[in-house]
């Protein structure tokens, strides 16, 4: 056996939250077998417990559920629940992981999730999924959509397991799934790499108790509040107080509970709480506009992409109040909660609220230390996983990677990025073993579909999400009266995994050849249902969805009768269309196994290296003469690493990598083609060159914003942070600098730029610390609006204060005044806390000017990818697809996506590389059959369709001497613009033929 063969093509993922699930899904797509180890009884983690997700306020579980189902049914992901890692021997390529698994006491294969056991069990237990706000019984499932779908028995509470009595559940189970003979097991798994994604832990009760939690029932944690807001929560989405069930009229959010507080042991910032408070407050306002909401905060840290806009909306559109003060006391006063806090002038204020939400921070997981010992990795001082700026996803043990909040507090998109990135790292380490351990998914042969439509209709209640408004039984009854409908049911959560099995059984039992699900949106859920049909031997295109959630229960929440009537209309229309549905073949297009990376900065180089290390050729194109981008101008890094050596090492590897071809002084011209088959013109120093590649990574970067204010350009004493960095590299000169005033947000956050540039606060702290190192007596003032040293960066903010750097808050409406008069520069500002005017004549005024993207309009146009209003590339889904663009085969990372520090750019670059390698690894892409198709006989070759297609998916070809339009299936997104504009109606859309749509419209008028 040679060395290569011994590398194992399996990966262990520890922790089944969103990060672990994402890593598992991507690894399985990349060609690796995954063991997904989860210590609780179901995967989904914290995201499954959230109501909505910021900043788009998508329903959290709605966007997570398809991933749960996908992970649950993948033949290449083995989910091990109630399981923990017990030991990890060996080394990268060849680990043996011992996993300890506690029994569920309910056989996963036999359980039908009917719920009878729960109904009969006499033991009430606190419902952990609902944060203890509801009760369940010892045998249960965490939530309806939970994966695995089977129930389990809470071993701590079960009477039989603790007192050997009862066993009442055993005879109630028709499926005979309850099995008290199950024993704990130990599994020895051979894996080549390990990804740790155990998530985060809970802030201790004694910290919460300081704010009355535990004593006053209407003081709740933010996680409890998520459940209270959630349609599937204990109050079914009605925002009510735990004490008396009344609607709170005044709600306060208290930020930094268990964060930025050395008394709690957590000196860091939890990064996500400001945004989730803004989200929660906004949602409450949407439900009950007359609610009065105040958020008490220290610094509003809404530094992510689009976050500041959310905060601004919260204040301006929803009237949410923001008070910069940490609440000192919480008292119960009659039915109300009295908060005592200092206003800006320092006066002690008392204000009464009906409910207080504690914005609890993210702590390291409770078992972090034991996990670290077991996995042989080191932790940082806060018991999070120790990583480095240049290697944000590597633990201290080779072959063991980290993703998600265990690496440091972070939100869902960042966790998802890290998950994909860590999967890419595993892919780099194990690329020789790709495909070695996976099972290829086989579908049963497609059934012949006869002329006679036999339609099954499944109406989903989605808890009260739909069922609370739409009368589901009535819709079911109605559906069953429609012609060709031979089956209708309304008792299930359509998207849960066990329902998929029921659908398969139903298809066989009733010999169905069309299936309609009346539920939520096909945007997130259609692919999953189509997969179910395929599993049952039906062509995926024999499926139709009626969106009775978004279009009925959500928009007509207060008109149940009308919503129900509309749901019936939608079902009738879907049935009319379904009668005409025809099976369509799935097309497959080969992929050129090469990547094009545009931009040679840190992000671009990282992405190129990862792709090359995963075994694929890569073109790295840089418009300037050198690689390195902004890193070339950075002299120091906050965490202490040397940027020059980081750059040198990276550049060396890029230049010498046999699979990377570097083009400097090269500009990307026209890009044609589609995923798997791009052709790109490169304008090199030596002329035009065309390269062929399967994927594109956009790493085009950004640069310092140019300001014309605060005397910049008028006085040499007014410089940017980057220029200061240059000055500080001259130690002699730096030692002569005695007084500096730094002005944050110079140009950002609603000035020239609407957004927060995320890196400037850390940058100012870094340069301030550097100057203090060189000249400890230097007086440094940092004038800020919010200090956004999120995550562990907070430690450096603390260090800067300790060393005497003075931070002074200013308001946007009243910025500091700089007068630059030749050699002398003067700054005037007000200390708002003392209400004192301060005038200084510093040696330097340093502007934190923010980041703008490089000019990419032409590139965006040729690739037909969208930009945000600020000219950053707009990802396909801000939450769950943070590196993919809407155009298949195009990915984004680094500053081209949004301003971010180096470690985040590296994580994202790894993620982009990970996603890009999926089609490269597969060697083909399958194309959804809903593409357009041109009837060549009817086509008159006018070219209207070609000119209108936003995806370059139609071209004109000569056939028999005549011009005819032709669809490039792999590029087509099925948008239908061509079909709707074709003057001869020569174009029809798969799954949306004119006949089908006309039938639907006719059915609308039929009732």
């Amino acid at each position: 056996m040679n060395q290569q063969d011994s590398v194992t093509g399996s990966v262990l993922v520890v922790g089944g939250g969103i990060a672990g699930i994402q890593a598992a899904l991507d690894l399985s797509e990349m060609g690796f077998y995954v063991y997904l180890v989860e210590k609780s009884a179901s995967i989904g983690g914290k995201m499954a417990r959230l109501d909505k997700t910021f900043p788009t306020n998508d329903c959290s579980l709605c966007i997570l559920a398809p991933k749960l189902v996908e992970a649950g049914r993948s033949p290449n992901i083995k989910i091990l629940t109630n399981a923990t890692l017990e030991s990890l021997e060996g080394q990268v390529g060849n680990f043996t992981a011992r996993v300890h698994r506690e029994p569920r006491f309910i056989n996963e294969d036999l359980c039908t999730a009917c719920g009878d056991c729960t109904m009969y069990c006499p033991v009430f237990v606190s419902d952990g999924y609902n944060e203890g706000l509801a009760i369940t019984r010892a045998p249960h499932k965490d939530y309806p959509q939970a994966v695995p779908t089977s129930f389990y028995i809470d071993a701590k509470m079960c009477l039989f397991l603790n007192h050997e009595t009862c066993q009442i559940c055993v005879p109630t189970c028709q499926a005979k799934a309850i099995d008290f003979s199950q024993k704990e097991e130990r599994l020895d798994l051979s894996v080549g790499a390990v990804i740790l994604s155990p998530g985060f832990g809970r802030i201790h009760d004694d910290v919460l108790a300081r704010y009355g939690y535990g004593r006053f029932p209407d003081v709740v944690t933010s996680l409890e509040f998520e459940r209270i807001m959630c349609a599937s929560g204990p109050s079914m989405g009605e925002v009510i107080r735990p004490s008396d069930g009344k609607h709170p009229k005044r709600i306060a959010f208290l930020q930094c509970v268990g964060s930025r507080d050395i008394n709690t042991g957590n000196g860091y910032c939890s990064s996500v709480c400001c945004m989730y408070a803004v989200k929660g407050a906004t949602i409450v306002k949407e439900h009950a506009p007359d609610t009065d909401i105040t958020i008490f905060y220290m610094d509003m840290r809404t530094q992510g992409k689009g976050f500041d806009a959310s905060r601004q909306r919260a204040r301006e559109q929803y009237g949410i109040k923001f008070v910069r003060s940490r609440v000192g006391d919480v008292f119960q006063e009659g039915e109300q909660l009295r908060l005592c806090y200092a206003d800006r002038e320092g006066n002690r204020k008392e204000e009464d609220f009906d409910m207080v939400v504690l914005s609890v921070g993210l702590e390291s997981p409770e078992d972090a230390q034991s996990l670290a010992r077991t996995a042989g990795i080191k932790l940082n001082q806060y018991d999070f996983c120790r990583t480095q700026t240049a290697l944000p996803l590597n633990t201290t043990r080779p072959g063991v990677y980290v993703a998600g909040a265990f690496q440091g507090p972070k939100d869902i998109p960042e966790s998802v990025m890290q998950a994909i990135g860590s999967a890419a790292l595993a892919g780099e380490a194990l690329h020789e073993a790709r495909g070695r351990n996976v099972v290829k998914k086989e579908y049963p042969e497609e059934m012949e579909v006869g002329q006679d439509p036999r339609i099954g209709v499944l109406v989903c209640h989605c808890g009260i999400n739909i069922g609370g408004v739409v009368n589901v039984p009535e819709v079911v009854k109605y559906a069953s009266t429609l012609d060709n409908v031979v089956f209708a049911d309304g008792s299930l959560y359509a998207c849960s995994q066990d329902t998929q099995n029921i659908i398969k059984d139903t298809i066989r039992e009733h010999n169905l050849n069309r299936v309609i699900v009346a539920a939520c949106t096909p945007r997130t859920h259609e692919p999953g249902f189509q997969e179910t049909l395929k599993d049952a031997g039906l062509n995926g295109c024999l499926f139709e969805m009626a969106n009775i959630r978004d279009h009925c229960s959500w928009v007509h929440a207060h008109e149940p009768a009308e919503a129900t009537a509309k749901a019936k209309d939608l079902v009738r229309m879907a049935v009319a269309k379904a009668r005409l549905l025809a099976p369509l073949p799935e097309q497959s297009v080969p992929v050129t196994p090469r990547a094009l990376v545009i931009g040679g900065g840190v992000a671009g180089m990282t992405a190129a290296l990862s792709i090359a290390d995963q075994g694929f050729q890569c073109f790295l194109v840089e418009k300037s003469g050198e690689l390195g981008g902004n890193l070339r101008h950075i002299r120091t890094i906050l965490t202490g690493q040397n940027p020059a050596s980081m750059l040198a090492e990276m550049e060396g590897r890029v230049r010498n990598h046999p699979r990377i071809k570097v083009y400097t002084h090269t500009v990307v011209g026209n890009v044609s083609g589609y995923i798997g088959n791009f052709k790109t013109d490169l304008q090199t120093e030596n002329g035009l060159e065309q390269v062929e590649h399967g994927v594109v990574i956009l790493a085009t970067g950004g640069r310092e914003h140019h300001v014309e204010k605060y005397g910049y350009g008028q006085s040499s004493q007014v410089v940017t942070q980057l220029e200061l960095e240059e000055i500080l590299s001259d130690v002699q000169r730096a030692r002569g600098i005695n007084e500096v005033v730094m002005i944050q947000c110079a140009g950002s956050r609603g000035d020239d730029l609407s957004y927060c540039s995320k890196i400037c606060c850390g940058g100012a702290v870094k340069n301030a610390l550097r100057l203090k190192d060189l000249n400890p007596n230097a007086r440094i003032y940092v004038l800020y609006r919010d200090v956004r040293t999120y995550g562990f960066m907070e430690d450096y903010y603390r260090q800067a204060r300790e060393k005497g750097v003075i931070f002074v808050n200013y308001e946007k409406e009243n910025p500091p005044v700089v007068s630059a008069d030749g050699e002398r520069v003067a700054v005037e500002f007000t200390d708002l806390l003392l209400n004192e005017k301060i005038s200084l004549q510093p040696d330097l005024v340093v502007l934190s000017v923010g980041v703008v993207p490089n000019d990419v309009e032409a590139l965006a146009k040729t690739l037909k990818v969208p930009l945000t209003q600020d000219n950053f590339f707009l990802e396909a889904h801000v939450k769950l697809r943070p590196v993919e663009m809407a155009v298949s085969g195009v990915y984004v990372c680094g500053l081209a996506h949004s301003p971010k520090p180096i470690d985040e750019a590296i994580s994202q670059a790894k993620a982009a590389a990970g996603k890009a390698c999926i089609p490269l690894a597969k060697g083909f892409v399958t194309v959804e059959p809903i593409v357009s198709e041109v009837n060549k006989e009817r086509c008159i070759g006018c070219g209207i369709c070609e000119s209108l297609c936003p995806y370059k998916a139609i071209r004109l070809v000569k056939a028999d001497g005549k011009k005819k339009a032709e669809t490039i299936a792999a590029s087509c997104k099925g948008c239908g613009i061509c079909a709707s504009h074709c003057p001869t109606m020569a174009i029809s859309m798969g799954g949306f033929t004119t006949e089908e749509i006309m039938a639907q419209i006719r059915a609308f008028g039929e009732c």
Binding site: C256, R260, I262, N263, G328, I806
Partner: protein
């Protein structure tokens, strides 16, 4: 010194927790956060010459909640120390001079002191404790007790509660004949040198009288000043001689637990609450020493059934408004202002009896808060509550 203060203040995040929790804030337009801010800008002298350090009661309520652990109490103490001694407000520094010269704050001569002590003892014997004689300089006594000069000069009868309890419990105890002052105005004036000397007197007495236990002297500030010096300078030396420091709670609990005293709960039918003296609780906890929260409540529960907690208690208790020497200081307006939140909580609790275990707290609540805020309450020492409940056999 100035730089040290700025260094402590530099940690401040300006979150305002301190000012939101402070009962002194608002006086003279100042509050804890402003103090820190002024220090950051180097306005130390302006602060040292302001009234703030003397009206801030250094209760530590701000510090326990500060997310950066900024020690505003240490700052206050240091600012007090910066004041020229002849500018120390009121009689505080004169008291320090007296205690250093004659061993007590009021400058009472030894014969006068002994006369009062003996007379009070005789009265007590007549009233209810047959055979009682004030134990002065009893070598080999188990406990050493220091009288508070305030009681000696103004309220000598108040000493009887203690003595009655000791008598009932057949405790072996003594008071010293010299250098007997219990309180520590060195601590209150930021004069830690004096504080150490005052502690030295107590240590010398303990050694001379060969006692086993020093009862941490009243007021709570006195106990805290002694504790600081005890821990820093004297502990090993005393412990080597078998001498330990105990708190009044330890003594009372011992008497109860060993069945040496009996009480009649029916004498205390009214609703009782407890005021936690900062320096018997929070400040001990802050110094990582055991805080006497639960002990106080246990002792009260032996004497009455009807007890209510104040809204803020234990670690979060509000100061009476006159801590750290403010009681002895000249600023009545400040005492009224700083005690308002305590008064409000007492009123809301509905308690008719406020028990506490510090003479400063007791006087402030009884003589200032009850009057200014029209509180219909009785204020009692915890040992008074025990003494009044005693069933003497």
């Amino acid at each position: 010194m100035y730089e040290d203060l700025a260094r402590i203040a530099n940690h401040c995040l300006t979150c305002g927790t301190c000012s939101g929790r402070c009962a002194s804030g608002g006086l003279d337009g100042l509050d804890p956060r402003k103090i820190l801010r002024m220090l950051v800008y180097g306005q130390t002298e302006k602060l040292a010459s302001s009234r703030w350090p003397w009206v801030c009661t250094q209760c530590g309520r701000c510090v326990v909640a500060c997310p950066e652990g900024v020690d505003l109490v240490a700052i206050g103490k240091a600012l007090k120390g910066m004041r020229p001694r002849n500018k120390v407000p009121g009689s505080l520094h004169k008291g320090v001079e007296q205690v250093l010269k004659v061993g007590n704050n009021i400058g009472a001569p030894k014969d006068e002191y002994l006369m009062v002590m003996e007379e009070v003892g005789e009265e007590l014997a007549e009233e209810c404790c047959p055979g009682f004689k004030t134990p002065i300089d009893v070598v080999g006594a188990e406990y050493l007790f220091f009288p508070n000069s305030k009681e000696l000069s103004g309220e000598p009868d108040d000493m009887k509660w203690w003595w009655k309890v000791f008598y009932a419990g057949k405790l072996s105890w003594t008071v010293p004949s010299e250098n007997w002052e219990s309180v520590d105005w060195g601590l209150f004036t930021g004069n830690m040198e004096a504080s150490r000397k005052i502690a030295q007197y107590k240590v010398d007495n303990a050694k001379k009288l060969k006692v086993k236990y020093i009862i941490a002297p009243d007021c709570a500030g006195g106990s805290f000043g002694f504790r600081l010096n005890y821990e820093q300078y004297f502990k090993p030396e005393l412990n080597a001689q078998g001498i330990e420091l105990v708190y009044i709670y330890d003594v009372l609990m011992r008497l109860f637990k060993e069945g040496r005293i009996k009480v009649d709960k029916s004498r205390n039918p009214e609703l009782v609450t407890y005021h936690d003296p900062c320096k018997h609780g929070r400040e001990l906890e802050r110094a990582s020493w055991h805080p006497y929260y639960d002990e106080a409540r246990w002792i009260i529960s032996q004497c009455c059934d009807d007890f209510v907690e104040l809204a803020s208690n234990k670690r979060d208790a509000f100061c009476c408004g006159a801590g750290s020497g403010a009681w002895a200081g000249p600023y009545l307006d400040a005492k009224i202002h700083c005690g308002r939140l305590k008064a409000e909580q007492i009123k809301k609790s509905g308690a008719k009896v406020v028990v506490t275990s510090c003479s400063n707290c007791r006087d402030q609540i009884m003589k200032v808060l009850a009057k200014e805020y029209k509180l219909d309450i009785k204020v009692k020492y915890i040992w008074q509550l025990v003494a009044e409940s005693l069933v003497l056999e």
